[in-house]
């Protein structure tokens, strides 16, 4: 016995109530409904999964992933945050730091600066750096360590006007910016990271420290590959998250002034005011004899922020049903700049595959 289409649709909606979210867990697994199979089927999955991009910019991407379970969608999200490797400064050799900022704080700040550079080099050439065991020597080599340096000294600007008060004009290097960090390629790094592919900070205007004449910072910085689960500086995203596609079901029509008020309960563009057409007003039903009046129509539920404002008003409480599509995930990935935001997702998918393969191995071993 197959469930009806309406039933399937109903099951696929997470209810958004005034005080509670209902029906949060998915039920499409074997044994939940008597007489229904719901076993996972590759063909069905292949046919039903769609990805649709709404926005794809280097630093921000928004796309919908439709037709997967929350666990899969969440796995992608988690991997984007914690498992996709990036490069960040890990070791700082402080040679001289006479600025007011303490060595540790300066190092911490340097670590958090995102860098970009040749992607093939990052992906193919560079490997993870293995921390030495006790007693072992550091093994910094060209394929696991990128060397950078920061050498700035604050001096008086001789050209500054006499009564200048702006410190950036009064002194040279009063502010130390991320752009002051230099990349020193070693060995084969020259091949991968030169020209446009050179390693530079994503945002050159990140303020690292402030100095006054006579102060100086000299340090060499070592950058390694790492993952976000180790330290947030290795996370390729500022944040990656998803939300479910909102649904707004108007059960009985909202007309006139109410419609205007209803529209205000949602962000711009979600609800549109349309006039009741002559045809509708002639038909038997709620619109009968209401020609020319405003009626509220849902046009773009994706824009809704699910503030539940409409449920707060008694006049709408019973006329509208809010929900979210369980298998429609609208991702929002904000890259820190090392990777393009869509690449991060693809990377996560690749990692997922890798992990799944590892897991497959385990399962086979287990079954043996």
């Amino acid at each position: 016995m197959k469930p009806s289409k309406e039933e399937l649709e109903r099951r696929n909606i997470v209810g958004v109530g005034a005080e509670r979210v209902t029906n949060v867990t998915s039920t499409d697994y074997p044994g939940h409904f008597p007489g229904e199979d719901h076993a996972w089927d590759l063909g069905y999955f292949r046919d039903n999964v769609t990805i649709e991009f709404h926005k794809n910019e280097p630093l921000e991407a928004e796309f919908s992933l439709i037709g997967v379970d929350a666990s899969i969608a969440n796995a992608f999200r988690r991997m984007m945050i914690a498992d996709v490797p990036t490069f960040a400064i890990e070791t700082v050799h402080m040679e001289k730091n006479t600025s007011v900022i303490q060595d540790e704080v300066l190092s911490h700040r340097l670590g958090l600066i995102p860098f970009k550079g040749g992607k093939t080099g990052f992906r193919k050439f560079m490997k993870f750096y293995k921390k030495p065991e006790d007693g072992e020597e550091h093994s910094y080599v060209d394929f696991n360590t990128i060397q950078l340096s920061l050498n700035v000294e604050c001096t008086h600007n001789k050209k500054a006007a006499k009564n200048e008060t702006d410190v950036t004009k009064l002194y040279n290097h009063a502010h130390v910016y991320a752009s002051d960090i230099e990349f020193n390629p070693v060995g084969r790094q020259e091949q991968y990271f030169s020209g446009d592919n050179a390693i530079v900070p994503v945002h050159p205007d990140i303020l690292i420290a402030k100095m006054r004449p006579g102060q100086q910072i000299n340090c060499s910085l070592l950058m390694h590959k790492g993952v976000g689960s180790d330290h947030a500086k290795f996370s390729p995203v500022a944040t990656a998250s998803y939300r479910l596609m909102p649904t707004i079901k108007i059960k009985s029509p909202i007309l006139g002034e109410d419609a205007k008020k209803f529209q205000k309960c949602f962000p711009k563009g979600v609800i549109e005011l349309q006039t009741v057409t002559r045809k509708e007003s002639k038909e038997e039903g709620p619109f009968k004899g209401k020609e020319g009046e405003w009626k509220a129509v849902v046009v773009d539920p994706m824009r809704d922020t699910v503030s539940r404002e409409c449920l707060r008003h008694d006049e709408f409480k019973d006329k509208v049903e809010l929900g979210r599509k369980r298998d429609h995930f609208i991702y929002s990935v904000e890259s820190t700049g090392q990777w393009r935001s869509d690449e991060i997702f693809l990377e996560a998918v690749a990692l997922f595959k890798e992990k799944a393969k590892k897991f497959e191995h385990q399962v086979i071993n287990m079954a043996r």
């Binding site: 929350a70 969608a73 402080m94 303490q102 944040t239 998250s241 939300r243 539940r308």
Partner: protein, 1154 residues
């Protein structure tokens, strides 16, 4: 006048808070601007500074004037007079006189462990060879200078000048620097002096008492009503004296006049008092002479008079009595030319009060009423001390003088300059020692107080500020009385209602409210003159008889508690007085109030009264008009202008009782006399940090007041120039999202102590029970709650009497010529290198001290030339970095080396955090970002807080803070973020803003679980809440031990973390084990794991043996070995040493078969 950048300008600026110059001003909305104007003039710690200035400029001169003349008993012609005394600017007082004496700034004193003090010079005139010799600017002593006082180099300094002196412009000042440590003289609360207090208790019955305080002495006089008889008691009298005898002794009064003076025409009081005449008759006292003899017989010998040299001839009883009555009993009513009438009036007033209280129990006074309290500040305390020391100095100087004149044939004339300098050190030392130790000893008052001064707490800016407004009570902490601890109604607006510690000092230690001012002595001459000369309605009290005084409608005008004049139109009198004060003819701090119960008008001009300003309301209209505020905004008027123009005035607690104050402008009714400037000023500086305090359960505000002082944050702008014993700073402090006006006024927004954390209120993981917090690991990675700990290590290179000195040693090397590990971070000069990482055990300063310190070094008395190691090692388990090394010399000209270490710490499990609502919690678990719940917008919390923290605590203010903060963030405008008490932004508007930006109106949003990826079934309350990191960190407390050091005496493990001590299995734990019957466990814990020792014991004699041999029995036969606690063995031996024989009888647990 130079404009000072004290940060209050911004608050008065016309553009402030989005307001433009052209915007209309409403007195209703903007009258709070008087508050910054007030603080601009008065400042938060102005009471200390004012009081100190008064002492330096006025009181010190009065003291010297009172003790100006020294005459020699030996040499009749010689005398010495101090004509003037002056306090200079603070100077260096380096050991050698060669070193130029130049002005010094506080930072140098802090760093070089010096005392921030100024020279005090006197002008003297004395006789030498029958000529008057004038000698000006003779150095008398050095006196510690209060920071930011008139003599301090920081007073009136602009921001840039402050910066040059390495000083923080936001530092409140008002403290002293003694030997490099900052010391505060706390405000002391006392019962007011020279005022009559009527009380009733079981033991004494109804009694009136007065503590007379003059420069010479302090004493307490009682008038007691017991068994219907009234007596006068005083310490100097052996027994209470019947009151009529006292009146008769005062002379000039007939019985009728006495009766009139006490009872007036009131028959009830006459009846009650009549019986007292019998007492006099019974004692056979009819005349003044008899009365004086009666009193004189009962004056204790060896009183303050008799203690002096026995040279004075013995006086008759009558003289003794006369002297006691004139100078000792109620000493503050001075007697001029044996005119005792004023004193008789005073005593009669006391008697009358007692009679009234016995008729109507409601007329007794309340000790806890703030109007009956006086606050003693640094200046007054110093002046007490200085007067005592100066008197000591004078007597020492005189002794020195007499010794000189005693010599039969002198070769030179007496030159007092040298001795003055020599004896003056006595004053310097006395002052320094008192401030350093906090022991205030004033011999002439028999005063001996401990704990008057405290080290200024620099844990956070707020801690320092809170300390400056703290008031400590003289009341004993141990006594179980609730009265003094309870919140008094009259504390309104004067003392903070929330800021008091918990526990034993609860309610005894108080804090000043934001607008409180403490008066200094303004002098009663002006008032006296006015009453005598100007006002026709009042006449001197001496001109009236008792009947006249007590007729209906006659009001006695009391000046500082003493009857002074009589008027029949009290209201007009008071009104005139107030008008004069508002016009600036009388001091704004002179207060007047009418007490109709006692038909009395009280005028007060004394010091230590608590007062605060109010806006004057006349004829139902506030005197404050929009144009006044406009002038204020334009900087064309100051608070003092408003004072002299009769727009605002100061009211002390007593005068407040005569007023009707409207809280808000719309509350004004025709009878209203004053308008509150701003209601949130009932809180102090520390409680003012709490947003929405009026929505919190009150104890929560009190808890926050205690915790705000432990919050780590920015201490001062000069925090990295200071070398403090222990300094905590936050790496990235933030201004709170939701602030209050108070925060701006105390500049907490410039020196904040905390960060705005994104908080969601939900349960998570189970590691959040009992207020534990869940922290986001990524937030910590990015710097949330990161703090630094600085520690100071000091070494002084001393020199010894034999000429030897401590020295800095070099680095030690091993046989391979490599520097040993312990000295890895030392430079060639034996000092740690800046920036090096220092591990436990490393030497930071390689100080060496000579072996030979005791010999004289003369001739053969010479020790070895060796030096022993006295190096300073780093002992803390967690490594640190060397932040600074400072080399200087102190006042004794010894080199001082200070090393500062630095640790940077990220929050870890068990570290303590707190919001601003008394909600503290420790970190229970640190969770990866991907496991955290996230909102639709991608928002991930920094902190997850368990909702169980709310229902029982009722900290609604925290919920409001969260909502308000969220609204100001999404709206991007700061004006929403105000959470002042009684004038906060309405939360309904916050809801509106949230809805506009697509959030739920109530602050609860849809979240998705980061672990399952499914939506959470509840909407989660979320938003920014300001979190403080508190100083309690796991790293400083974590401790465990398996084996380790033991105490020498008992051989038991040492106690405490610092000594790597063991964990005690205490009495109660022991009880549990006994009850459970776990005897072997007990044996193990209490003996084997502790101080087990194996001893030889002789079974024959029961005494200890040694190496299997018993000395007593001279035999090895019966000697056996056993285990026992070393402490028990010690006890036995100690008992033996005091001749108590102890013998141990042994028995086998499992006896041998014989």
């Amino acid at each position: 006048m130079t404009v000072l950048d004290d940060g209050f300008e911004a608050l008065l600026e016309p553009f402030y808070n989005g307001k433009k110059l052209t915007d209309p001003i409403s007195t209703k909305e903007d009258k709070y601007q008087l508050l910054p104007a007030f603080l601009k003039v008065k400042g938060l710690v102005k009471q200390h500074i004012d009081s100190y200035n008064y002492f330096i400029n006025q009181e010190i001169k009065d003291i010297v004037k009172a003790n100006r003349l020294i005459k020699s008993d030996q040499e009749e012609s010689f005398w010495l007079e101090f004509t003037d005394i002056r306090v200079g600017k603070p100077t260096r007082n380096d050991y050698s006189d060669v070193v130029s004496r130049s002005e010094v700034n506080p930072m140098e004193c802090r760093l070089r462990d010096m005392t921030y003090a100024a020279d005090v010079v006197v002008d003297i005139v004395y006789i030498r060879d029958r000529h008057k010799i004038r000698h000006n600017n003779v150095l008398l002593c050095r006196i510690p200078v209060m920071l930011k006082s008139a003599k301090c180099c920081l007073s009136g300094a602009s921001n840039s000048e402050m910066e040059v002196m390495n000083e923080c412009p936001l530092d409140p000042g008002g403290y002293f620097i003694i030997g490099g440590t900052e010391k505060v003289i706390l405000i002391q609360e006392q019962l007011s002096k020279n005022r009559v207090i009527v009380e009733a208790d079981e033991k004494m019955g109804v009694h009136a008492s007065v503590t007379s305080s003059t420069h010479e002495r302090k004493s307490k006089t009682y008038v007691i009503l017991k068994k219907e008889r009234i007596t006068l008691a005083h310490n100097i009298l052996m027994e209470p004296i019947p009151i009529v005898i006292v009146f008769k002794a005062l002379g000039g009064l007939t019985d009728c006049e006495i009766m009139e003076l006490v009872a007036g025409g009131d028959a009830r009081y006459q009846d009650d008092f009549l019986i007292n005449f019998d007492e006099a008759t019974k004692a056979g006292v009819y005349t003044q002479q008899q009365a004086l003899e009666y009193v004189g017989q009962r004056v204790k010998m060896g009183g303050p008079r008799g203690r002096q040299f026995g040279s004075a001839p013995r006086r008759s009883h009558a003289e003794e009595g006369l002297d006691a009555l004139a100078n000792i009993i109620i000493a503050h009513v001075t007697i001029q030319g044996l005119e005792f009438y004023p004193k008789a009036i005073y005593i009669a007033m006391m008697v009358r009060r007692v009679l009234m209280a016995s008729h109507n129990p409601k007329l007794v006074d309340d000790r806890d009423f703030v109007g009956n309290k006086r606050l003693e500040l640094a200046g007054q305390l110093l002046s007490l001390l200085f007067e005592d020391l100066f008197k000591g100095f004078v007597s020492n100087l005189k002794m020195n003088m007499e010794n000189f004149f005693k010599k039969p044939n002198r070769t030179s004339a007496y030159d007092p300059v040298g001795p003055i300098k020599g004896q003056g050190a006595f004053i310097t030392q006395g002052l320094n020692r008192a401030i350093q130790s906090g022991n205030w000893t004033v011999k002439r008052f028999n005063m001996n107080r401990a704990g008057v001064t405290h080290v200024l707490s620099r844990l956070s800016y707020i801690a320092a500020l809170g300390m400056m407004t703290r008031i400590s009570s003289q009341f004993e902490k141990t006594r179980k009385v609730s009265g003094p601890r309870a919140l008094q109604m009259s504390q309104w607006g004067m003392l903070c209602t929330s800021d008091t510690p918990e526990g034993e000092a609860c309610g005894l230690v108080k804090n000043l409210a934001l607008m409180t001012h403490i008066t200094t002595d303004v002098g009663d001459e002006a008032v006296k003159e006015w009453i005598h000369g100007v006002d026709s309605g009042a006449e001197a009290i001496e001109n009236f008889s008792g009947t006249e005084m007590h007729t209906a409608g006659a009001y006695i005008v009391h000046l500082n508690g003493t009857p002074f004049a009589l008027t029949h139109s009290p209201k007009r009198f008071a009104a005139r007085f107030r008008t004069l004060r508002r016009r600036g003819w009388l001091s704004p701090f002179a207060s007047i109030h009418i007490n109709s119960h006692f038909s009395a008008i009280h005028i007060a001009t004394d010091e230590g009264r608590i007062c605060r300003p109010y806006i004057i309301v006349q004829n139902g209209r506030s005197k404050l008009k929009p144009e006044h505020l406009r002038l204020l905004q334009l900087g064309k008027a100051s608070f003092d202008d408003f004072l002299t123009h009769g727009i605002v005035e100061y009211l002390d607690v007593n005068e407040e009782n005569d007023t009707l104050v409207a809280l808000y402008e719309h509350d004004i009714v025709p009878a209203t006399t004053h308008l509150e400037i701003e209601p949130f000023t009932i809180l102090g500086a520390v409680a003012g940090l709490i947003p929405f305090p009026h929505h919190n359960q009150s104890p929560r505000n009190t808890y926050q007041c205690a915790m705000g002082k432990q919050a780590i944050g920015a201490i001062a702008y000069n925090q990295f120039n200071r070398i403090d014993t222990l300094l905590y700073t936050l790496v990235y402090p933030q201004r709170p999202m939701v602030i209050t006006k108070t925060i701006q006024l105390v500049h907490y927004d410039k020196l904040p102590a905390g960060q705005n954390a994104t908080v969601v209120v939900m349960s998570y993981s189970g590691y959040d029970i009992e207020d534990a917090l869940v922290l986001n690991k990524a937030s910590l990675d990015r710097g949330f709650g990161r703090c630094q700990v600085f520690r100071k290590y000091t070494a002084e290179l001393q020199s010894y009497p034999n000429g030897r000195r401590d020295r800095m040693g070099g680095v030690a090397k091993d046989e391979d010529g490599l520097v040993i590990d312990k000295h890895a971070i030392l430079d060639e000069d034996g000092m740690a290198m800046v920036g090096e990482r220092v591990f436990s055990g490393n030497t930071m300063l390689k100080k060496e001290t000579p072996v030979d310190k005791g010999t004289t070094g003369i001739g053969t008395d010479r020790g070895p030339d060796d030096f022993s190691d006295a190096s300073l090692n780093y002992k803390i388990a967690d490594a640190a970095y060397i932040d600074k090394v400072m080399i200087s010399t102190n006042e004794r000209d010894h080199p001082v080396i200070k090393v500062q270490t630095r640790q940077t710490r990220r929050p870890e499990l068990g570290d303590k955090f707190s919001s601003r609502h008394g909600q503290k919690g420790v970190v229970g678990i640190i969770v990866d970002q991907e496991d955290m719940p996230f909102a639709d917008s991608g928002l991930v919390p920094d902190i997850i807080m368990n909702p169980h923290g709310f229902p029982s605590r009722m900290t609604v203010g925290k919920l409001f803070e969260c909502l308000t903060g969220k609204a100001s963030i999404v709206h991007g405008r700061p004006e929403h973020g105000f959470g002042d008490a009684f004038r906060s932004h309405p939360v309904e508007e916050m809801g509106k803003v949230l809805v506009e930006h697509g959030f739920s109106w109530e602050g609860k949003d849809y979240f998705t679980s980061g672990i399952t990826g499914e939506p959470l079934e509840c909407y989660i309350y979320n938003g920014p809440i300001y979190y403080q990191r508190l100083k309690h960190m796991v790293q400083d407390k974590m401790h465990s031990r398996a084996r380790g050091p033991r105490a020498i005496l008992t051989r038991q493990p040492t106690e405490g973390r610092s000594r790597d001590g063991g964990l005690r299995l205490g009495e109660m734990e022991r009880d549990c084990l006994i009850a459970y019957g776990a005897s072997q466990l007990l044996l193990e814990r209490l003996m084997y794991s502790s101080d087990v020792t194996q001893i030889d014991i002789c079974q024959k004699c029961g005494l200890f043996g040694y190496k299997g041999y018993c000395q007593t029995c001279k035999s090895t036969r019966e000697v056996t070995q056993m285990n026992m606690p070393y402490a028990a063995k010690l006890l036995v031996q100690e008992l033996v040493s005091m001749n108590v024989g102890v013998r141990l009888e042994l028995e086998d647990t499992f006896p041998h078969e014989k």
